[in-house]
């Protein structure tokens, strides 16, 4: 039986280093190639030795597809392609292709230059790796080779995030990457058509969460910022350079515009400027509002948001500053925080999750005194707020996507095992489809029932059409006679005559014959009944043409019934029956009829 195999190398019952191997219709595809944020050793990257112990991966993989630019989805790419070795095509969308190398370079800098690791990929490797990338457009079907085709759908989440449909023949798999079913200020919602894939591989970060409406969150956020600024306080928003930062910027920018506010908003420079540039470029990937208004004004050309300079932090008066990094563990955001922490008029808004051990985590838990380096303590007087702006689909969103795509099987990745369990039950219950949640390295096999396309010759089709009703009824199967020719990797259904001709064979008639012996007495009874009675009996099998030939033989369709007497046994008459294989059913019916004598049911007729 044909089957699809899915093996997560990362992100199986886990968040981080997404890397999923799919083999479908004899093709092997790697979906995402990410790194794990939590580890600094070998576990950082997926275990490529699962694919092959030594040598390059090129001959084992047909293609690699990257869903979006987050490092847990693309961080291991240069390592895999340049250090392990892969020369095949890597597919990603245009925005991902543009932004991905920036992030990779940044990642490399931090690991190599700051932490001093060796044996890491180099800038050149990133460049070489990006040369292998083939860009994808939304809804564009790309033929990887003759059989394998891929198609990208919009996924929301971050700029350029895509869901991919992988299709070989009639078998298909959809991989969602990370996606978001509720639109936000700068991106739309994920969308897919009813493609009915064999497997839908979905992320499940928020498998057990149903989120409140985004409007409440936005309103809260704006209200808090607004109040602080009106009080004359300063607001610090630590963010990661890409993704949420842009959403918050747009949110504040439009709010400032709407409310005619004057307080300055700053964005700490660095990565961001480059990234904002790409946001400006890839307008088609944003939401309806931005797409529709960019002709008048590109929303990413901020009027109120200016670049931050270190000296601004000491300026008097209210201001809002976005600064990296998001968890307040180092860098500019921490420096500003130190300056502002002492004033209770100020506020810090943490828009995302903070890892344990970071200052962000500490202050969120209400710690009022922080120990800094060289034994200084910092008193935290400013207000600390937490706002969750996350761009993953919640449980409802996942269910909604399933309803949209109508998959035959479901496979969950990119989430915690316990939470997945809950969602898995729900999915099986609501949709009555199988749901899998393999761990890393564990293979899930799904048996598919692909339809095999067969070319049918026009002659045959027309002949069948002439026999049957006027319209082919899609709801009812119909049997037809023909010859299936399997030749040169193609299947054709043709008329038997044509098949014979093509194969250069002569036609052979296959006939079954059988003899039935009767004693004379019996026979006379038979004769008496034969013409009238038998004919009557056969009339039961109505619709068959019955012919009486002059020499006493009777023909029913192609079945010949002939009476002959043998010389040796004059007392017996022999009935010869002969039929071609096409009329096998009728022939065997007749022979049993004649052998057993006439069934009593019939004789009464």
């Amino acid at each position: 039986m044909p089957e699809i195999k899915v093996t997560p190398l990362g992100a199986g019952q886990d968040v981080g280093r997404s890397c999923i191997l799919v083999s479908i219709g004899g093709k092997n595809i790697m979906l995402d190639c990410g790194m794990h944020m939590g580890f600094n050793d070998d576990r950082r990257f997926p275990d490529f030795s699962y694919i092959t112990q030594q040598g390059r991966l090129t001959e084992f993989l047909d293609c690699v597809i990257i869903s979006h630019f987050h490092l847990d989805h693309c961080g291991a790419l240069p390592y895999m392609s340049e250090m392990v070795g892969y020369d095949g095509p890597i597919y990603m969308t245009h925005p991902t292709k543009a932004i991905c190398p920036i992030l990779l370079e940044d990642f490399r800098k931090i690991t190599v230059d700051k932490k001093g690791e060796t044996n890491f990929f180099t800038s050149q490797m990133i460049k070489d790796c990006m040369k292998k990338v083939v860009p994808l457009n939304l809804h564009q079907t790309v033929q990887v080779d003759d059989e394998l085709e891929i198609k990208a759908y919009y996924a929301g989440h971050v700029l350029g995030a895509a869901m991919v449909q992988i299709k070989v023949g009639s078998e298909s798999v959809v991989y969602t990457g990370d996606y978001n079913m509720t639109p936000d200020r700068h991106l739309g919602a994920a969308w897919i058509d009813k493609c009915r894939p064999d497997i839908l591989i979905s992320e499940s970060t928020y498998a057990t969460t149903i989120r409140d409406s985004k409007r409440c969150r936005e309103r809260d956020f704006l209200k808090k910022v607004h109040e602080t600024v009106e009080r004359g306080g300063k607001v610090l928003i630590p963010v990661f350079a890409l993704g949420r930062a842009q959403e918050l910027c747009i949110l504040l920018e439009t709010f400032w515009e709407r409310m005619n506010m004057k307080a300055p908003i700053y964005f700490s420079t660095g990565l961001t400027e480059k990234a904002n540039h790409y946001y400006k470029l890839f307008i088609t990937w944003t939401n309806q509002k931005i797409r529709k208004t960019f002709v008048q004004r590109n929303m990413f050309e901020f009027k109120h948001i200016k670049a931050f300079d270190r000296s601004y932090a000491d300026n008097p008066g209210p201001m809002v500053v976005f600064a990296t990094p998001g968890m307040l563990h180092a860098g500019q955001s921490l420096q500003i925080f130190k300056k502002w922490a002492g004033n209770e008029k100020n506020m810090i808004i943490m828009p995302g999750y903070c890892v344990q051990g970071t200052i962000g985590h500490k202050i969120l838990n209400g710690q009022k005194k922080l120990e800094m380096e060289n034994r200084q303590t910092l008193e935290v007087k400013l207000q600390v707020e937490y706002m969750s702006f996350s761009a993953h689909a919640d449980a409802k969103g996942i269910m909604q996507l399933i309803r949209m795509a109508e998959p035959r099987n479901m496979l969950l990745v990119h989430g915690e095992a316990k939470k997945m369990e809950f969602l898995k039950d729900k999915i099986e219950q609501e949709f009555t489809i199988n749901c899998f949640m393999p761990a890393n390295g564990e293979t899930t096999t799904v048996i598919t029932n692909p339809s095999v396309p067969v070319d049918i010759s026009l002659n045959l089709l027309k002949r069948e059409m002439a026999l049957g009703g006027p319209l082919p009824d899609p709801k009812k199967p119909r049997t037809m006679h023909g010859t299936l020719i399997m030749k040169d990797n193609s299947l054709r259904l043709v008329t038997p005559e044509q098949a014979l001709k093509e194969l250069g064979l002569n036609e052979h008639q296959l006939r079954f014959t059988c003899r039935v012996q009767y004693r004379k007495t019996e026979f006379t009874i038979f004769i008496v009944f034969s013409s009238s009675y038998l004919v009557k009996a056969w009339a039961v099998l109505k619709g068959y043409t019955i012919q009486h030939l002059p020499d006493g033989t009777v023909m029913v369709e192609s079945i010949v019934i002939k009476v002959s007497s043998s010389a040796e046994e004059p007392n017996t008459k022999v009935l010869l029956l002969s039929w071609s294989y096409q009329d096998e059913d009728l022939g065997s019916f007749l022979s049993t009829l004649l052998k057993k004598g006439l069934p009593s049911g019939l004789s009464s007729m």
């Binding site: 509002k289 809950f422 729900k426």
Partner: protein, 980 residues
């Protein structure tokens, strides 16, 4: 070869031009002139290949064909049709036939047989589809003829089983448009309806199964082609619109179609389900996989709610809109649409809305300072959580969060419709609507504010909700702020803190956007009126009075202080104890404001103060009726005048005019009617004066002065008639006739005067002709009103009309002179409601002493803000005029987008006009005023407006002009010479 020969024969024939042995069809035409059909025939015959033929046909399609030759043209087309091998040409011919059968005054029944015949030979599916389309056109042209309809339907039945989707589509369309909507009589075999042969061919041998259009169409709900499925649903909806009662059995099928793969099918199915839910709201349907049953309307409501999270936004819009129309749904289901159970890590979480409500209930407000403040509490029973919302769950939550603003607007509208019918739902959806005030698209924000206003009679805002609402007051968009003021006028709030909060925010708004002054004051007026008891405890604080100390007297010109006073005074109106809290200066300010802002400050009964007469509160509702009575009396007194030459008539007119004018000033409700009558009477008075007997007998040169007076009177009368006609709304045809009558009188007077002053006949002839034309058009326009005008000037003129047209100008003038003087006074019948169009320019105020400086030769933009009342169609009629001191003037037509309509009969014009002038030595005032443009052809246009745009030339005798209305405003400007 033969074909080639034939072609040549035709070619030659066409060159010879009209041989006597013209073939039969041409004779049938009975052509009286070489019409288009002949030309077409020749063209078609000339065509050597399909491309040429197609070109000819396309060319032909552009020209119009008169009704009598349509039949002939169709014959020729059909003749060619049978000869033509090429599909596209036949298709074009078929479409042309359809086009031709739409010709006015042509009865397509005559070409029906010929068209039907084409079906026998046609093989091409595309052409068949086009032919069916043609039949559809013919069928819709002949809606009454049953026989035609039955024949067409038969054709449709026959082709329903075609393999091409287009043909099936058209057949279904035909069935939907023409199918029998009466109850199928054929069941008992004697109905008029011909027995219909079952949908598919095998039925023939199986006996004739009789089926009605409905079940037949429903068979195609399961067609393999989505376009056919859509067409089938649409056809069914069409049948429904035409009055057929759709059977409930279709419901299940329709529900299945909701899960179709194709969006247009789903969209149509949503409509279908809705129609069924409206037809059978109370019938019971079982819930699958359980033993329970629900009402059909509830079931369908749930199903349509589900579609709000469909993949296609077209369907989502459709579904959201439809939800708003399902008012019979039970409250339980309705409330589910706003339900979204939150959870986090499998723990139940309260929504922000719930949290806000609880905080409010517990007396403490706004925290959110702590992290994990919203930490989930109780553990959720995993089996009970229903993730994929079955039924109506959270439909609006999704709809309001949708990516496409079209869906969001549809959802807001639906919310509004549902909330207006259910108070408890209104209460529930409040939070969601308030959230929408924060939408990224202004249109959505505005819409949700409007919706909240509409439902605000049903609700009372909580403090936290009010807080969110008020936050929007800082919006930079003027529309939003004004909509919000309007909303606050209608809102009920629960506590005095709310009032205080609202006042604070409004004052903040006032300082930030001083232009909102009027709107804010008005808002506070209503707020005070509505909540007197809530304002009462706040009064000392608001007026900053102190029990022991005198506080400084606030500045009377401070808009914020006025705002506070407006709130307090309006509350005091229905709370008599409040006045005791006022300090002395408050009373003084009251009298000042009562005078200067009388529309905002109500009359108060102040203890120990004499009340100014006429301002007293006793002048209540009764006065309107008494004024009405007075108006009637004055008018009936006038009606006693039979002839204007009667002695004392003039005096009576004079008095009455004065009375009416005063009445209009006193009673704003009747101002329109009073002004209208006064103006009319003034016209009559002018006429009377001009016609005074003594003067007319004198020789012309002797009474130059009188002549000048009469000419001026005639001119003024004309102007006044235009004002009468166009400045007042609510006029009926009768009044318009009266006005036109006065105008005719004025013109006659002018004519007589011209005749007297000018020598020579030539100029007179043309003037007389013109006048006669006007009399004629008057007669044409007001045929209905003529009986009422029997005794009047026109009545008498028309009696003489045969003589008039024949006589010479001199005689005509004489006749006019006598009729003018003899004709009776035409009484004015007041219509029920007459309103005078008025305009007030709010901005610029004209008070500024600082000139607007700009460099000469360049432009400066002047913001204009004006309210217009009772102006019909302001987009086309209202113009802005700028008058410079040197007499130069510009008329500026504002953009349609500059007009807003905040209420019925009210419009607001917010626009910018550009000023420019050469340099002046010192600042000088320019005048800005509003004009009402009119054109007398408007009346006629209204009748013709449906027809094509070609007839846009003004009707004969149309006069166009402008009437200034509203007070002009002076603006100081100072164009400076450019510095080099």
């Amino acid at each position: 070869m033969a074909a080639h020969l034939k072609k040549r024969v035709y070619e030659e024939f066409s060159k010879v031009v009209q041989l006597p042995q013209e073939e039969a069809p041409a004779k049938k035409l009975r052509l009286t002139k070489p019409s288009k059909s002949a030309a077409l025939h020749i063209d078609l015959c000339k065509a050597s290949n399909p491309t040429d033929a197609l070109q000819y046909l396309l060319h032909f399609a552009r020209s119009s064909v008169e009704a009598e030759s349509v039949e002939g043209v169709v014959r020729i087309l059909l003749e060619h049709y049978y000869k033509e091998q090429d599909n596209s040409v036949r298709l074009k011919i078929a479409s042309l036939i359809g086009l031709l059968s739409k010709t006015q005054n042509f009865n397509p029944e005559s070409i029906l047989d010929d068209t039907l015949n084409t079906f026998n030979t046609e093989k091409s599916h595309q052409v068949l589809a086009q032919l069916l389309d043609t039949l559809l056109v013919i069928g819709t042209q002949l809606p009454e003829s049953l026989i035609v309809r039955h024949r067409l339907i038969e054709v449709a039945y026959k082709h329903l089983s075609d393999t091409y989707f287009g043909v099936r589509n058209k057949c279904l369309q035909l069935l939907g448009c023409l199918g029998n909507v009466d109850t199928p009589l054929n069941k008992d075999g004697q109905g008029l309806v011909p027995a219909v042969i079952g949908g598919s061919a095998p039925g023939v041998s199986g006996g004739v199964c009789v089926r009605d259009a409905q079940s037949l169409i429903s068979d195609y709900f399961a067609d393999q082609d989505p376009r056919v499925r859509t067409a089938a649903i649409k056809a069914m909806l069409q049948l429904h619109e035409r009055g057929l009662k759709i059977q409930q059995t279709i419901y299940d099928q329709a529900c299945q179609l909701l899960c179709d793969d194709y969006e247009q099918v789903r969209s149509a199915a949503v409509q279908m389900v809705w129609v069924l839910s409206q037809l059978y709201p109370e019938s019971i349907v079982p819930i699958p996989s359980s033993n329970e049953q629900v009402r059909l309307v509830d079931d369908s409501f749930g199903k349509i709610s589900h579609m709000v999270s469909d993949g296609s936004w077209v369907v989502r819009v459709q579904a959201a809109k439809t939800l708003g129309n399902m008012l019979q749904v039970s409250p339980h289901f309705l409330e589910q649409t706003l339900d979204k159970k939150l959870m986090s890590d499998l723990r139940r979480k309260r929504t922000a809305h719930e949290r806000a409500k609880e905080l409010y209930a517990s007396g403490e407000f706004s925290s959110g300072r702590k992290w994990a403040d919203d930490a989930p509490k109780e553990k959720v029973d995993t089996s009970a959580v229903n993730l994929i919302a079955s039924g109506a769950c959270g439909a609006f939550v999704h709809g309001l969060e949708d990516e496409m603003y079209e869906v969001r607007i549809a959802a807001v509208d639906a919310l509004s419709a549902l909330a207006q019918s259910s108070a408890s739902f209104a209460e529930k959806c409040l939070d969601f609507l308030v959230d929408m005030f924060n939408d990224e698209i202004e249109e959505v924000r505005l819409q949700s504010i409007h919706v909240l206003r509409q439902i605000s009679t049903n609700i009372t805002l909580r403090e936290d909700q009010l807080d969110t609402v008020l936050a929007v007051l800082e919006d930079s968009s003027r529309d939003i702020r004004e909509a919000l003021h309007e909303l606050l006028c209608f809102t009920n709030v629960s506590t005095k803190e709310c009032i205080q909060l609202a006042l604070l925010e409004l004052l903040k708004n006032l300082t930030k956007y001083p232009t909102d002054r009027n709107s804010v004051w008005k808002c506070l007026k209503f707020l005070g009126c509505r909540h007197p008891t809530l304002v009462l405890p706040l009064v000392p604080e608001l007026l900053s009075t102190h029990p022991y100390f005198h506080t400084p007297e606030p500045d009377m010109d401070d808009p914020a202080y006025i705002a506070v006073l407006v709130l307090v005074f309006n509350a005091a109106q229905s709370c008599p104890t409040m006045t005791a809290l006022f300090s002395d200066h408050t009373f003084r300010h009251y009298t000042y404001l009562r005078d200067s802002l009388s529309h905002l400050v109500p009359p108060l009964r102040l203890p120990g103060r004499t009340q100014a007469p006429g301002v007293s509160g006793i002048e209540g509702s009764g006065s309107v009726e008494s004024a009405q009575l007075f108006l009637q009396q004055s008018l009936s007194r006038i009606s006693t005048i039979h002839n204007l030459q009667d002695p004392g008539a003039q005096d009576l007119l004079n008095f009455t005019i004065r009375d009416l004018q005063r009445l209009g000033e006193l009673q704003t409700e009747l101002a329109g009617a009073a002004d209208f009558s006064a103006t009319y009477l003034r016209c009559q008075l002018l006429l009377t004066k001009a016609l005074q007997e003594k003067l007319w007998t004198m020789a012309v040169p002797l009474c130059l002065k009188h002549n000048a007076m009469a000419t001026a009177a005639a001119k003024q009368m004309l102007e006044e008639t235009y004002k009468l006609e166009f400045l007042y709304s609510g006029l009926e045809n009768r009044q318009v006739a009266t006005i036109h009558h006065v105008r005719l009188q004025a013109k006659a007077l002018q004519l007589v005067l011209t005749a007297r002053t000018r020598r020579g006949v030539e100029p007179l002839i043309s003037v007389c002709e013109k006048f006669l034309q006007e009399v004629e058009s008057f007669q044409r326009l007001f045929v209905v009103e003529l009986p009422h005008l029997q005794e009047s000037f026109v009545g008498k003129l028309l009696d003489l009309s045969p003589k008039l047209s024949a006589c010479k100008p001199g005689e005509l003038v004489k006749i006019l002179q006598t009729t003018l003087r003899q004709s009776g006074f035409l009484n004015l019948q007041l219509p029920k409601q007459v309103q005078r169009a008025s305009a007030t320019i709010i901005e610029p105020t004209g008070e500024s002493d600082n000139p607007l400086r700009f460099t000469s030769g360049l432009v400066v933009a002047l913001d204009i803000d004006a309210t217009l009342e009772h102006v019909q169609d302001p987009h086309n009629t209202v113009k802005v005029q700028v008058l410079y001191p040197d007499g130069q003037y510009h008329v500026i037509q504002p953009k349609p987008g500059d007009f807003r309509s905040p209420g019925p009969h009210r419009h607001r014009l917010i626009t910018q006009v550009y000023l420019s002038h050469s340099a002046w030595t010192e600042a000088c005032q320019i005048e800005v005023r509003l004009l009402l443009a009119y054109s007398s052809s408007r009346l006629c246009k209204a009748v013709w407006s449906d027809s094509s745009t070609e007839g846009l030339q003004p009707a004969e005798g149309a006069t166009e002009g402008t009437i200034p209305f509203g007070k002009p405003v002076k603006v100081f400007i100072m164009p400076k010479p450019a510095r080099r």
